[in-house]
Amino acid sequence: MFTCRRVSSAFLQRLICRSQSTGTPNVSVDPAQHIFSAACVQRFPLLGRVKTDLEVKVNQFKVVAAEKRSRLSDFELEEQKFAALKETVEKKAKEEGVNVSVFDMDTSFKDLQESFEKDFESFEPQPRETEPDRTGDVRSTMRKLDRILYLLVKTEDEWRMPQGGLMEGMNLCQTAQEQLTKLCGADLSVQFISNTPVACHSLPINKRSKVFFLKAQYLSGTVKIDTEMLEDYAWVTKEELKDYLSPHYYKSISPALLD
């Protein structure tokens, strides 16, 4: 008995730690109180990135290399033949002193080709910069088309991703989905990609309670926030997240996000 009592507390602690890490955790309190799940909704880019100078240069070089490797097409062969024929005819006409006007290729075909080229030159593509970009509207999903956008909502005191406490009889993913529809309206349709949380954030008020982030893909619809719980919402890029989120929050979520 005495020897048992003399076991140091540090050793006991280590034993408990080991049992926690390997076996089932002995949680005395209801875990649902400490678990929150948040939806990390991302709008994937609709446009490719603008090419850098180096990429443009390499592209030009690759075009030249491909042309070097290629062979003449049927059309080009025909053109060559016609040009040779024209030359010989003109030479003969000169020798004999006769005025002959020789057509180029098939004129109708040439006209068609010219009209196509004109169409191509006159075509103006839609500018990459959209109206929300110009006006600085953060609530639109049609801003910054070449970046990934993340959905943030504003509570009374801070910006964060839409989150809520664990619901009864639901797993993390189902809870996140339910909370999202509760906070941002049923019109917003998203697709959750995985059941696995991508990041974890411990709340500053109570370190034991944790928020787990689940990634989802934005499909369609607009956000209609629950005005009782939230004040505002925004679609922002990873760079802009820094200005919105608290440093602690940003530190725990940013490694899981792509630029």
Binding site: P25, L72, L77, N195, P197, A199, C200, F213
Partner: protein, 179 residues
């Protein structure tokens, strides 16, 4: 012959000039003096030339057939000398410029690759951390979060394009009669 032919076809495919001596296997030094060819000799030489050409053609056909068997479409017209594109060799400066460009490009892509790897490793690390924390809080939730989602298919994604779609623009339909 087959080796010589392979060399030839290689030169055709890669568009690289090989010296004509590489087409015919090298023989001993020619020591015999030049003599006037008799008519019979000339005929023999012509026949030899003709046979050589025949062999080349057969070998070419075989290459094409083999490529077809492998599932690679290969047009025999590729070997047609009339289709050879006239190509101006770039100057020494231009060539050096290109080599430097490719070196810079490889450095750039390497950097990109490194960044991507770092990002992926960071993502994996945070995910593992999150799973560990979840396991500490609740085991059933942890087990459930490891399950695969089967409802992610059909997976929709509008791919990135160069410019956004134009408003009120109807693309011309080449199948219609009006076109």
């Amino acid at each position: 012959m087959s080796l010589a032919f392979r060399l030839h076809s290689l030169s055709v495919l890669t568009n690289r000039c090989l010296p004509p001596s590489s087409l015919v296997p090298a023989r001993g030094k020619k020591t015999a003096k030049k003599q006037k060819k008799s008519r019979k000799d000339a005929q023999k030489d012509a026949m030899k030339e003709y046979r050589k050409q025949l062999e080349v053609r057969e070998a070419l056909e075989q290459v094409v057939l083999q490529a077809a068997r492998r599932g690679e479409p290969m047009d025999p017209e590729m070997f047609n000398p009339a289709r050879k594109r006239s190509y101006i060799q770039p100057s020494e400066e231009e060539r050096e410029k290109r080599i430097l460009l490719m070196k810079e490009w490889s450095r750039y892509t390497m950097q990109q690759h490194k960044q991507e790897l770092q990002q992926l490793q960071g993502m994996m690390k945070t995910r593992e951390h999150a799973l560990k924390e979840l396991r500490k809080l609740s085991l059933p939730l942890y087990k459930e979060s490891l399950e695969l989602r089967k409802d992610i298919f059909p997976f929709k994604r509008i791919g990135p394009v160069a410019t956004p779609p134009k408003d009120n623009y109807i693309a011309p339909d080449p199948d219609s009669e009006l076109f």
